[in-house]
Amino acid sequence: MISEIEKDDSKINLALEGELSIYVVDDLNQQLDGYLQNYQAINIDMSNVSELDTSVYQVLLRAKLLSMNNNKELNIDNLNEISQRVFDLYSLNDIFHQTSTGSH
């Protein structure tokens, strides 16, 4: 699930933990949409993910694309082995590494 680690007016650090699957993907999507609206920069720590399926990956991808469209920052950090495997398979790491200043 999502936990808020710390935040201020424009930035927030989140952590995604546990089993991230289609059963929680609706809630997760809604929450991410909310954070995207309210914050300028979002960090998501993925070090405690025990399961990651395609639906959640898709939601993360969408959040990243949305952030880029709206000139906001979204960074996905500290991928553990489980998350890294999924990210590597789908080979869109280039997109996830983009910052809104356009650099890599």
Binding site: I22, D53, L61
Partner: protein, 730 residues
């Protein structure tokens, strides 16, 4: 050939030929512009292809030779130079003729046939010269072949898997991850491309649906069946292509066809599928696909690539067809071809709507109901917007017409042996479609005139100290509700005295007549004035300057000439922007109401008791400016009640101002110009009629004409007055 296809074919060829001409003209100044070279090739190629579809063999056979030459130019085997461009322009003209003959199913004349043979001989001459280059080519080809072999080897090693799952696949408990994991057990995923084009970023997104597609390059010794088995559980819920290494070329074609139509570029598709390398694809994309069903014309794309042993014809054809589909889709989303009649009907209806709105407004005003009036003003605003937008549909850029002149100027300057440069300004200025069509001929005549009689030969110019190259300008811009088109040259200009002399010789004016410079220049538009006997083959039709003026006036326009002897001449054409609906200003003169086009109204001033003599004309001092005025009551011989509080409506057209004395000001209104019929077509001072909200007809004044009248009379009066040493102007 049925009418619709005929029209389409003709239109398409016409567009292609125009493109080709534009490109060729650009090449003249910059022969190494590859983009233009390709553009010319593409146009000729497409004409050939499309003609092939309709089995117009004559066109195909001719264009084929031209195309071969162009192909050689493209690949660098033939140098492009002035002579070749001239030849190609001639071929383009001849192609136009052939297309026309094909559509009308007529036979070619002997004259055209011999012209064709001449062109073909010249074209073949260029082709023969390429045979000497064969040796160099074979070396190049060898290098290519080697490269291709390596590519072939690489290609043949891998499988290509393309999968598009249905949206609900996740909900049904199936996750692509498991399939891919299984694949990894059987072999190596060399590359996996996730396609997220379909992923909605808006509220349409359902997180439980899958919107991703995948293209996988896969290395494995497994059998096809084993790979297929991987997807056993999900095969009902996806579109799956498994292409084995080798022998899969036709299947690539099939797969490409079946891919969902997103805007993925063709290159990405083929490169991802590993069918072609990036370099080969770039080459291939420079060519255009053609319909496959023409038996005479094999895809040159196929030829090129087969030569290089890259890929089979079918694959690239399929891929290019797809690219074209995508391109055509986006193109057709941008532009619609509309039947002109349908548009006219719409505009008529809008006109009726404007009148009906005015009537309703009037009734609402009479009833005095606040709410109704407010509601009506909302409707009036909307009607105005609809009116403007509807009229806008008929607007086209004058640039298209102007561009035709590039070729004319080029050809005629060669013919006359003069060096003339054409500059075009304001090409994106828009005007009504019918006006554009009707102004083309007069413009043509004016341009030819400027080139023939205006601009001097290079020698003469040099002697005079002018630049050897003559300058011809075509300018277009909007000014107070009109569009102004100028034909300007820096030639020898008009000699006022010469013109007056000629006019007197031809009895167009009397000896004693006083003529201003403006009037003198207008004389060149009199029938019988022109002495230019030479009518070259390009101007044709024996059009004279008087016809030019008539045509412009038929469009409710005016034409003015400014000139300085020795420096040049500027002919300005003013045309109203719209022909149908105008904003008007209603005035009362005696018993009658008249409409003055609002965009020519400058201001209204009270005429505090001035001397009321019967003269229909006079002057006032408008803030230091001398303003000639016309008393409409006297001029129109009105007899109704005369107001004691008269007004002057100051109108302006271009640089000319005048005032109209009226009995009352009745306010602004939108009006629809109604034709008055043949009988009343040529009235002086009247440009049309309109129907007011009350149902009455009101006459629309021809302001430019009336201004002319006001200034003419005043000029003569001035001279008469000064001649008689009479009193001050009043």
């Amino acid at each position: 050939m049925d009418d619709d296809s005929q029209q389409m074919f003709q239109q398409e060829c016409s567009d292609l030929l125009t493109d080709m001409e534009d490109a060729l003209l650009l090449l003249e100044s910059n022969p190494h512009d590859n983009d233009q070279i390709n553009a010319v090739f593409r146009s000729m190629h497409t004409i050939k292809g499309t003609s092939g579809v309709f089995s117009f063999d004559d066109v195909v056979n001719f264009t084929h030779v031209a195309e071969s030459v162009l192909d050689n130019v493209r690949s660098g085997k033939i140098e492009i130079g002035g002579d070749l461009i001239a030849l190609l322009l001639e071929c383009m003209d001849h192609t136009k003729i052939l297309v026309q003959l094909a559509i009308s199913e007529k036979n070619i004349t002997a004259e055209d046939k011999s012209k064709e043979n001449e062109l073909l001989t010249q074209l073949n001459g260029y082709l023969d010269s390429t045979k000497d280059l064969k040796e160099d080519n074979s070396l190049q080809e060898q290098a290519l072949v080697e490269k291709e072999d390596i590519d072939d080897a690489v290609d043949s090693k891998y499988w290509h898997i393309s999968v598009r799952f249905d949206h609900e696949v996740l909900v049904h408990g199936m996750d692509p991850l498991s399939f891919f994991t299984y694949l990894k057990k059987m072999g190596n995923i060399i590359s996996l491309t996730t396609i997220h084009d379909q992923l909605p970023l808006n509220e349409d997104f359902n997180p439980e649906n899958l919107y991703l597609g995948f293209e996988i390059v896969y290395d494995s010794d497994a059998e096809k069946q084993q790979i297929e088995q991987t997807f056993e559980f999900v095969k009902e819920m996806c579109v799956l292509y498994i292409l084995p290494p080798k022998d899969s070329i036709a299947r690539y074609a099939e797969m490409i066809h079946a891919l969902p139509e997103d805007t993925m570029r063709l290159g990405e598709i083929l490169v991802r599928s590993g069918a072609i390398s990036m370099d080969e694809l770039e080459n291939a994309l420079q060519l255009q696909a053609e319909p496959k069903n023409s038996k005479n014309t094999p895809a040159p794309l196929g030829e090129v690539l087969i030569d290089k042993k890259a890929v089979h014809e079918e694959v690239v054809d399929a891929a290019l067809v797809k690219q074209n589909q995508n391109q055509n889709m986006s193109k057709s989303q941008r532009v619609l071809r509309v039947d002109a009649e349908k548009l006219d009907l719409l505009i008529n209806l809008v006109g009726e709507l404007v009148i009906a709105g005015a009537t309703t407004n009037m009734v609402a005003a009479q009833l005095g109901d606040e709410k109704l009036l407010e509601s009506m003003s909302g409707i009036s605003r909307l009607v105005e917007e609809i009116r403007d937008n509807a009229l806008n549909l008929r607007m086209v850029q004058i640039g298209d017409t102007f561009n035709r002149f590039k070729r004319v100027v080029r050809d005629v300057s060669r013919e006359l042996g003069k060096d003339i440069k054409l500059t075009i300004n304001g090409a994106d200025t828009e005007l009504d479609k019918t006006v554009v069509e009707k102004i083309a001929d007069p413009l043509m005549h004016l341009v030819r005139n400027a080139m023939d009689h205006g601009i001097e030969s290079a020698q003469d110019r040099d002697n005079k100290g002018k630049s050897v190259q003559g300058n011809l300008e075509l300018n277009a811009y909007h000014d107070s509700g009109c569009i102004v088109i100028e034909v300007k040259d820096d030639g020898k200009g008009l000699d006022r005295d010469e013109i007056l002399k000629k006019a007197m010789e031809k009895n167009l004016i009397a000896d004693s007549q006083v003529i201003s410079e403006k009037e003198a220049f207008q004389l060149i538009f009199e029938a019988g004035f022109s002495t230019a006997a030479k009518i070259t083959n390009l101007s044709g039709r024996g059009v004279g300057m008087d016809v030019v003026k008539k045509n412009i006036e038929a469009l409710r326009g005016t034409v003015d000439v400014e000139s300085n002897a020795g420096d040049g001449t500027k002919v300005s054409i003013r045309l109203p922007l719209t022909l149908a609906i105008i904003d008007g200003f209603l005035v009362k003169v005696g018993d009658s109401s008249y409409v003055i086009p609002l965009d020519m109204v400058h201001e209204c001033i009270d005429l505090s008791d001035q001397n009321s003599d019967d003269k229909e004309q006079g002057y006032i001092n408008l803030r230091g400016e001398v303003l000639p005025f016309l008393k409409l009551r006297e001029y129109f011989k009105e007899e109704g009640p005369e107001s004691t509080h008269k007004s002057i409506v100051v109108v302006q057209q271009g640089n000319y101002k005048a005032g109209f004395v009226v009995d009352g000001l009745l306010g602004e209104l939108q009006t629809v110009i109604k034709p008055m019929g043949k009988i009343l077509k040529d009235l002086r001072g009247i440009s049309g009629a309109t129907i007011l909200g009350s149902g009455e007809v009101a006459v629309i004044l021809d302001v430019p004409n009336l201004i002319q009248r006001a200034t003419q009379i005043s000029h003569r009066d001035t001279v008469n007055i000064s001649n008689r040493n009479s009193q001050t102007l009043h």
